[in-house]
Symmetry: C2
Subunit: 344 residues, 2 copies
């Protein structure tokens, strides 16, 4: 701590401070096999006390920077916190550090953040629900090991982890139909490009909703408000639906954050949940479990999704030539207090 800030701490200083060899320090830094926990602790303490930073370019020359870039669409959506928890849990104990880039649901914003991450030399990327054209994702994945989360479709250059969104949407529709609802509306995140319509989780949930409604003989009740997967999008979508000549008796919001906005609009309209209208979300976030709300929601195991993405990325960094993997997780429905039979 007494070092002047301008004097660069070296591996030699760390070794001297920890009273071990420079080889031992190097081994700890590389997370090499055969380092005792005691040696690990000694070296890490010296690193911490001296404020040592492994030289990035030197590490770069050895081919690793030990940073993973994670792009996510929206920091306000609590689902991404679940994914990140799973992801960081999986890399805990490794040398890897996660840096996050906000993608902001825009193609230009995504290109900027992805390029910044590649420029900053990250060893690999995890892209959560990217909206970029598929060709762009393929090009990125050819440059740097990449795992795409949430988005469906098979790629030979990147690995994918996704939820079975068709099934998840059907779980909600069937639950509401079983309760006796027939006018079940949906709030979707709008898509326009063919790639996104075919691959984005939100588009597949909307398709799952339509299929399940038809399968239950409720084709006439299909009613979609097309906004965004944000609180504001949920608020605006619910306002649209509540203004229909005949109001739906249930709303399936495509994400918990959308349900939050919808609940806001329902409260503003002076209606009660679930007495006047039922509402279900998707993601089973901490918000859904929050007792004053107690939101029925689809659990797509965000933690598992994040853990799988991290595992696939570390595997790919270790072996870039292995065939790509597609992990698909199965959702479950968590019934809480926002869904009940429709008003008589």
């Amino acid at each position: 701590m007494d070092e002047a800030p301008s004097r660069r701490i070296t591996i030699v200083d760390v070794a001297r401070h920890a009273q071990v060899s420079t080889t031992a320090v190097s081994k700890v830094l590389r997370n090499a096999y055969g380092v005792s926990p005691k040696m690990q602790a000694k070296v890490r303490q010296a690193i911490s006390e001296l404020g040592y930073r492994p030289n990035a370019s030197a590490r770069g020359l050895r081919g690793r920077t030990y940073t993973i870039g994670v792009m996510l669409p929206d920091i306000r959506n609590p689902f991404f916190a679940e994914v990140l928890d799973g992801l960081t849990g999986r890399i805990a104990g490794t040398e890897y550090q996660v840096l996050l880039g906000p993608g902001c649901n825009g193609e230009d914003a995504e290109a900027r953040v992805i390029h910044a991450m590649i420029d900053r030399g990250m060893d690999g990327l995890i892209l959560i629900a990217p909206i970029s054209a598929r060709a762009h994702l393929e090009r990125v994945a050819a440059l740097v090991p990449t795992v795409v989360v949430g988005r469906h479709g098979h790629s030979h250059t990147y690995d994918t982890v996704a939820d079975d969104d068709l099934t998840g949407a059907a779980l909600v529709v069937n639950h509401l139909a079983d309760l006796g609802h027939r006018r079940i509306a949906h709030i979707e995140h709008h898509e326009s490009t063919p790639d996104c319509l075919a691959e984005m989780p939100n588009a597949i949930r909307a398709e799952g909703y339509r299929r399940a409604m038809r399968a239950r003989g409720l084709a006439d009740g299909i009613d979609i408000a097309s906004t965004t997967y944000t609180q504001e999008g949920g608020y605006l979508g619910a306002k649209q639906l509540l203004a229909r000549p005949v109001r739906p008796t249930a709303i399936f919001a495509g994400a918990d954050i959308v349900a939050m906005g919808a609940l806001d609009a329902i409260a503003e309209a002076g209606l009660s949940v679930p007495t006047d209208i039922s509402i279900a979300g998707y993601d089973n976030t901490t918000f859904a479990a929050f007792r004053p709300i107690s939101l029925t929601s689809v659990d797509q195991a965000g933690h598992e999704i994040g853990a799988n993405a991290a595992r696939l990325l570390l595997d790919r960094i270790a072996d870039r030539s292995r065939p790509t993997a597609q992990v698909k997780l199965s959702p479950t429905l968590v019934v809480r207090r926002t869904t009940a039979p429709p008003p008589a």
Copy 2:
């Protein structure tokens, strides 16, 4: 888009594609003075269409990487989304890209993420409510332009942006005392080190609470549950407070996310807000404005905090020798439906 992925796009390709000179492209990349909006648009479109990435090391040699590292303690706290919105709003239109690092409220985690950001060559750092020892922050700021957000205290190496937390806490206590409450409890984020007790916003809010209680003649009613600024911390803190032999009639939660956890515990206990117990938060996040909850909260202008932090950092990157600045913002109270007179 037809380029093979391995072929590196250069500034020459961009110039040819946009049908402008390479000097013009370079000017746009540097955000230089005197580039017409039309030229900007042309070059940016070519950059986007070709997937051009300015060469990081070349940019590094010119002294800039156009990346800003933002460390934040907890992605789940909605207050940080407000700060980030203000921050990204302020840098929109510049060449800068923000990358986020989770600090996770641990000294080791903070050291790791700060070192990763420095190693990755970021031009500057914005550290939100860091808990690291002051000496460590000074050392970091001596290496790279740094703005510290939330934490109080004057530094000659880093700029600071903070809220007047003493005043903010007093606003809550006075509001509750004016309603007739005498047993007003507080849930704080626990601190132990002298640096943090003197400088952290949470510690200063707790001190503001104590001072305001004494100033109102309510010293006997001072009752603090010491947990964390998380939903879980609010839940556990409220459970402690509700189990007191004589229950408080109001709880001042140190952050909205803490109030969320407290509301969860109050619902679990079968109590009503504000009939049985009043609750106030701090941060005035989107959660506080959410109508089904409608939480009384202190607005500390997270958006302004973020915008100021970005401005100070860009100034410091431009001129590392200017004297440090301390920006302190004044909070206001937003009264909503979770606070009312105590039960008779």
